[in-house]
């Protein structure tokens, strides 16, 4: 029987993809981002996470009908538990729900063709494009993430890109420009959203509390770069 380690389930989320969704936060992450605001989801084991069966997760989701249009799997990094996601997505599709994946992109989607067939969209973090910056931020190089962005965009599955913006640490305009350049060719066929997120200290581990959110002006500049590249919906949060 399929089981997964789940940190929490939010029955009604208005910030995890289109419309009202049930968001499922899986335990465990392959990245270790300095500014992670859910650090309790990073470890592969956790005292607060619960091992849930497919049936249990489905029951919880069914309890939210007919108020949701779908589910979003998030984390941690939910694709670490992809063997659970596939049967879950098959069942939620039967309920008429849409399936979205919120991912750090650190695991190649190439090997997940069947899962993607049941996926309506992926929300992907691109935290940095410069290898050393990505490495110091997440503990991993960015190659897989960037390949995933291209692959998902080509397959019409890339729903949203997210970039967390930190003052004076990252080359923020460089990141948004690189992402815009990379995805521009796909924007005419598929709308991709770009969400620019100010770093926040809420929930972040004490050692990394010193990260500063960008100035308003900088956020507007970044937005302008994305809009110019052809992203129709660019939001700042």
């Amino acid at each position: 029987m399929a089981e997964a380690l789940i940190q929490k389930i939010i029955d009604s989320s208005v910030v995890d993809g289109p419309g009202n969704r049930t968001a499922i936060f899986f335990q465990g992450c392959n990245f270790n981002c300095t500014y992670c605001h859910n650090p309790e989801t990073i470890s592969l084991t956790s005292e607060t996470a619960i091992l849930m069966t497919l049936e249990e997760v489905l029951e919880r989701i069914k309890g939210n009908l007919p108020f949701i249009q779908g589910i979003t799997v998030s984390g941690g990094e939910c694709t670490l538990q992809r063997d659970f996601l596939l049967p879950l997505f098959k069942e939620t599709k039967k309920l008429g729900l849409s399936n979205f994946i919120d991912s750090n992109g650190g695991i190649s989607f190439e090997g997940m063709a069947e899962l993607l067939a049941y996926t309506d969209g992926v929300m992907l973090d691109i935290k940095a494009v410069d290898p050393s910056a990505h490495l110091s931020l997440t503990g991993h190089p960015p190659d897989v993430v960037l390949d995933n962005a291209l692959g998902l965009a080509a397959g019409g599955k890339l729903y949203e890109i997210r970039t967390v913006v930190i003052r004076d640490v990252l080359d923020n305009p460089g990141i948004v420009e690189a992402v815009s350049r990379m995805l521009k060719p796909y924007l005419k066929d598929h709308e991709i959203r770009y969400k620019l997120i100010r770093v926040r200290s809420h929930g972040v581990r004490p050692a990394y509390q010193n990260l500063l959110p960008p100035r308003e002006k900088e956020m507007e500049k970044l937005k302008a770069i994305a809009v110019k590249a052809g992203f129709l919906e660019v939001t700042i949060i």
């Binding site: 939010i10 029955d11 009604s12 989320s13 208005v14 910030v15 289109p18 419309g19 009202n20 969704r21 968001a23 309890g63 939210n64 009908l65 007919p66 108020f67 949701i68 249009q69 939001t235 949060i237």
Partner: protein
């Protein structure tokens, strides 16, 4: 309701109205007229039971007046006005947008109601849309139409309808209300997932998070109940077009429960006694209005066929279900509460079944359109309702999770063709995702709800139980300033004493 015994009492009240600095001249005039009307006895003959139930707070007539001389809610047939014009008002059918707007404004001036203002403005998008030639010109004219309504109809119970289909006029109206931030008109979109475009529905949701307007009516359910067209008037009252409501009085179910010694006493004695008393009061008022006053004989609205006696109904109002159920549970020594516990919710349905049956067995002399039966109405509450939750709503401090709340509402909404509604505040994160709110509305409608609306927690305009007010206006009113619209007076209690601002959406993560 006040029964005047001595001439001095009348004089005192007259002086009080005349000297009240917070009332505008029109508000004073209206209050004086009501005071004069209330010198007459209630049109029920010698009926000690009714008076006793008034005293106990079980029956409440919402200060409707003792001797109604016009129906409480009138929904004129505006299509007829546009087809044929009006002889009495010397108006020809309009030929362009300017004439259409002026025709409506003139006509509205002559539509009476319990508030002295028209409570139904018609399906304003559908009325105006055929006359639109140039979008920009139309935008300017409709903008001034809306400003005119807000400044001359000084009461936010005045209700316009839009939808279900999207029109240019509808889009302009929804766009303009966000810019204008007015409390009048109260707006409802007659929403049907299959007829209303996603874009229009979403712009209505987005608008409601900016200015608490429009609310959403479940068009499918209303059309089924009314066997076709209907209008939403006043707070959220579904009524026949070309007719309306004679009268609305209400029972405070919580007071009935409070006066009952047991559940059996409630069901077997006091509830039926109260229902029958309210039926007599309503029938007395309706007969007085129809038979003793000239409205249905001489009003141009009747003579020219804009309304028809047979299309009016009586509204049998109910409030305080929440406290009634909890009281009856406590009497039985049970710790089960309305909204949260299924046994308590089932008891509410049992109470409604009894009321529906008994009210349904009473045959009124009038009200042909509803087969001479009164319609149940879940009333939004009034000043002086401290300790009585509006209609069938769950008390504000109970904070039950949103989906459970909507499912519970979906169980009680079907009983009330003439109106029931729930309003939910959403926080700022929902503004970026109106689709999420629409999903929740769709779920509510699928669960049986008839009417729902959203507003933003941090906005100035909010929907108080069933009408709009500005929080900033209440502050001014409290400081003794005059406010142009009457509804501010009714909002005072709900906002300050009944904790309306404490209503929370529970279980939504933003």
């Amino acid at each position: 309701m006040k029964i005047y015994q001595k001439h001095e009492e009348t004089r005192e009240d007259v002086l009080q109205i005349i000297q009240n600095p917070s009332l505008t001249y029109e508000q004073q005039t209206f209050a004086l007229a009501k005071l004069a009307e209330n010198q007459l006895p209630l049109p029920v003959g010698e009926d000690e039971t009714i008076l006793e139930l008034f005293e106990k707070g079980i029956i409440c007539d919402l200060d409707e007046g003792h001797a109604p001389y016009a129906p409480r809610y009138i929904l004129p047939d505006y299509d007829k006005l546009f087809r044929e014009g009006s002889k009495f008002l010397r108006l020809d059918p309009p030929k362009n947008l300017l004439e259409a707007i002026q025709t409506l404004q003139i006509f509205y001036h002559h539509v009476p109601s319990i508030t002295r203002f028209p409570v139904y403005l018609g399906r304003i998008d559908r009325l105006l849309d055929p006359f639109i030639e140039d979008r920009e010109v139309a935008r300017e004219q409709i903008k001034w139409f809306l400003i005119h309504l807000d400044r001359t109809i000084n009461d936010s119970f005045s209700h316009g309808n839009v939808g279900p289909e999207s029109t240019v006029a509808g889009e302009l109206i929804i766009d303009l209300i966000q810019e204008l931030q007015n409390v009048t008109p109260n707006l409802t979109i007659l929403y049907d997932k299959e007829k209303t475009s996603d874009d229009f529905a979403l712009s209505c949701v987005a608008s409601s998070l900016v200015c608490a307007n429009p609310a959403f009516a479940n068009d499918k359910i209303f059309r089924r109940d009314f066997k076709g067209d209907y209008g939403i008037a006043s707070c959220y009252n579904g009524l026949p077009i070309g007719g309306g409501a004679f009268t609305l009085s209400r029972l405070r179910l919580n007071k009935i429960a409070g006066e009952s010694s047991s559940r059996a006493d409630f069901f077997d004695r006091l509830l039926p006694l109260s229902i029958d008393a309210l039926l007599r009061l309503m029938e007395g008022k309706i007969k007085f209005l129809v038979e003793e006053t000239p409205f249905f004989k001489s009003s141009f609205l009747v003579k020219e066929g804009f309304v028809d006696l047979d299309r009016f109904v009586g509204l049998f109002g109910l409030v305080g279900m929440d406290e009634a159920v909890d009281t009856l549970m406590t009497v039985e020594g049970l710790d089960l509460v309305y909204g949260r516990d299924s046994e308590a919710n089932a008891l509410a349905l049992a109470i409604l079944d009894v009321i529906q049956k008994r009210v349904g067995e009473f045959r009124s002399k009038y009200g042909k359109i509803w087969n001479h039966r009164f319609l149940l109405h879940s009333q939004v509450g009034a000043a002086g309702d401290e300790g009585t939750t509006a209609g069938m709503r769950v008390a504000i401090d109970k904070d039950i999770p949103l989906y459970d709340h909507l499912r519970q509402a979906g169980q009680v909404h079907p009983y009330f063709p003439s109106g029931i509604g729930d309003h939910f505040p959403f926080d700022y994160t929902a503004k970026a995702n109106p689709q999420a709110v629409l999903d929740i509305f769709n779920g509510g409608f699928e669960s049986g709800m008839r009417y729902i609306s959203a507003y933003s927690e941090d906005g100035d305009i909010i929907r108080v139980t069933g009408y709009l007010v500005k929080k900033s206006d209440l502050e001014k009113f409290n400081q003794g300033e005059q406010i142009s619209y009457d509804t501010i007076q009714y909002a005072k209690d709900p906002l300050e004493k009944h904790g309306i601002l404490n209503r929370k959406v529970v279980g939504v993560d933003g």
